[in-house]
Symmetry: none
Subunit: 200 residues, 4 copies
DNA sequence: AATGAATGAGTGTTCATTCAT
DNA sequence: AATGAATGAACACTCATTCAT
């Protein structure tokens, strides 16, 4: 239920190891198809240890979400706070979320595939955090629209849903060993977004 | 393939009923969280009946995919064959897939969430069909690029992945009882796509 | 429940075909591991046809036993009735049962492996027939013992059990494509039996 | 491997209890006709406990075979190593396997009736061990033949198959409450074997 | 901090048999 | 004489979780 931060054991601390292996396995075969036994074996501990640190399998998944949401919210907040033209900030935010989605491809896979497997209350918490993130991004679009930089037409909410569909979909098709590096994809996705919304 | 007992309407034939209930339940709670027991209870038959018509639970899911892929491929082929400027055909194709994705929202939900739960060989078959569809769409974009209507930069493959991320994501956020009708979303998604790729 | 003898269809009559395929399959994978579905598919008919001719899967197995017992009993009776020295009749009977067990190796396999899978009443019937056969053979041994040709010691019952264990075991080790033909094995088994019981 | 709770006797450790009950039930009604549920009920535990100790129902059967093969191989090796005339060693070995087959009648029943229900790889392992045992016995017969004590004619392999058919068949007819004790049967079987092969 | 034996409810699947046609 | 849809009970096996130690 709690996560230790003091480094203790020989290699990584037990809860961190469990979380890392769980993330890998959830991305690989999905939450429901990953057994607690597999997680503890991969982490080199026993079930008792897992249940000492985490209240349930569900908790483990929730931790993955919490970590990813925290990270992305922080990055977006930093970019939104820059003193730059709004179009530049939107471009940077869009590119940044693509890069971080690719760098944490396992988390991205889990994100859009496993929300429904969280318990209802945890699901609510995650969706609420996600909505907060969504609103931050929407605010940037609104700012651009209100200052005449972006077109009025597709309402900002729709634009955000449009773009984040593309971002989540990275987990489906992106291959680290493919022809495109994360930065290249990021630049082109940002380019597509900007073209799609800016006043012609 | 089906046995009707003279009466025309009311209760559909057993395999159709099973497939309909399975689709609803898979969309609702996911493939792994839907038990065969729940499906047969919803369809008002017994497990034996299900296994009389379908080889496995997996088969049922595969049928859902086959139906959706057949439908979308037919619609795209019809639009691609129209004698209209390529930009118009792309716009129509984009709008059409949004409309049909919203009209069959259950299938759309299942599509991007449950592929990984298909058996490897069925997964291969579905991905192959999907790739075929993707390539049809890509050909349209290529045609536009080669005729100077669309920009050269984001390669057509990337554009298709970008756009279909948005389409699949509809299943996550679209609400039939929300403010936007299917046609409105379709028009705006097509608009965003066209703006994002046409030569300025 | 009844067996047709009038040749009817194109190839063999349906019940005969069912019985033949069932025998092959029961020998191959055992009674419990052979499904009714497999039998009817092998025979090229449907379940309804099987249940038209046979009351149950059990019935099918019972027919196999009945056929084999009838055959062996007839052959033994014929040999026992010969007007020859008892030692010669025992030798012939022993050799003959070996030959017929090898010629009908599938039945032999089924015989000693699947009795316990018959319903209690059918099992009783088979055991009773088998006992009758055993007693016929035992009578020959007794005649030899009473006329001083065979030793008194191992009681005839034990001798019969000793020898028929060897015969049933043929199904376990005998290979039609092995080095020994049916007649060779028959001769040597008969030889072993005779040596084991005759007065030195 | 087992956890004893201080008290010495009464209830055996869980895996032993499971193995004992499984042996009894497999002998009683056959492997396929014994359900895992029946085994765990007889042992007074739940399915989970069984699968904690054994990988599968198949594993349980394999354990029975492993135990019986180990026991018989050890006994035969001990007898073969005695410094006695070969005829005496063969007689002792034959009598001994009869006694141990009767003393472990359940294992004997399972042995010749359920091999085919083992998974192919386990079956291979058991057959290989069995062949080893067979070859040890055959070596004794060969020694007797080469030293002129036994006849040349039925080749040793055939003699072994002949005799072990009789031994396995004990499971079919022997009754502990019948007129013959294990030692009596053993003596007479050994007597029959010796008479059947020794030089007259 | 951590073990591992054990639970109990649940899973997908099989199958002999029935019966209206 | 034969079909094939449908049943219902059983099957082997899995798994998140608990708890005494």
């Amino acid at each position: 239920m709690t996560t230790q931060h003091g480094s203790a054991g020989k290699t990584a601390a037990v809860p961190q190891r469990l979380l890392a292996e769980a993330t890998r396995l959830f991305a690989d075969r999905g939450f429901d198809r990953t057994s607690v036994q597999e997680i503890v074996e991969a982490a080199g501990v026993t079930k008792g240890a897992l249940y000492h640190y985490f209240g349930s399998k569900d908790d483990l998944l929730h931790e993955v979400y919490a970590r990813v949401l925290r990270l992305q919210t922080e990055r977006l907040a930093a970019i939104a706070a820059l003193e730059e033209p709004v179009a530049d900030r939107v471009r940077k935010a869009a590119a940044d979320v693509v890069v971080s989605s690719i760098q944490n491809l396992d988390d991205t896979k889990i994100f859009f595939r496993s929300i429904h497997q969280l318990s209802p209350d945890k699901q609510r918490a995650v969706r609420s955090d996600r909505r907060h993130y969504h609103e931050m991004f929407r605010s940037l679009i609104e700012e651009g629209r209100d200052t005449g930089v972006f077109r009025a037409e597709p309402v900002p909410d729709l634009v955000v849903d449009f773009f984040f569909g593309s971002v989540h979909h990275l987990a489906v098709w992106y291959r680290p060993d493919g022809p495109l590096g994360a930065e290249q994809v990021a630049e082109q996705f940002a380019d597509l977004l900007l073209h799609s919304i800016r006043t012609s």
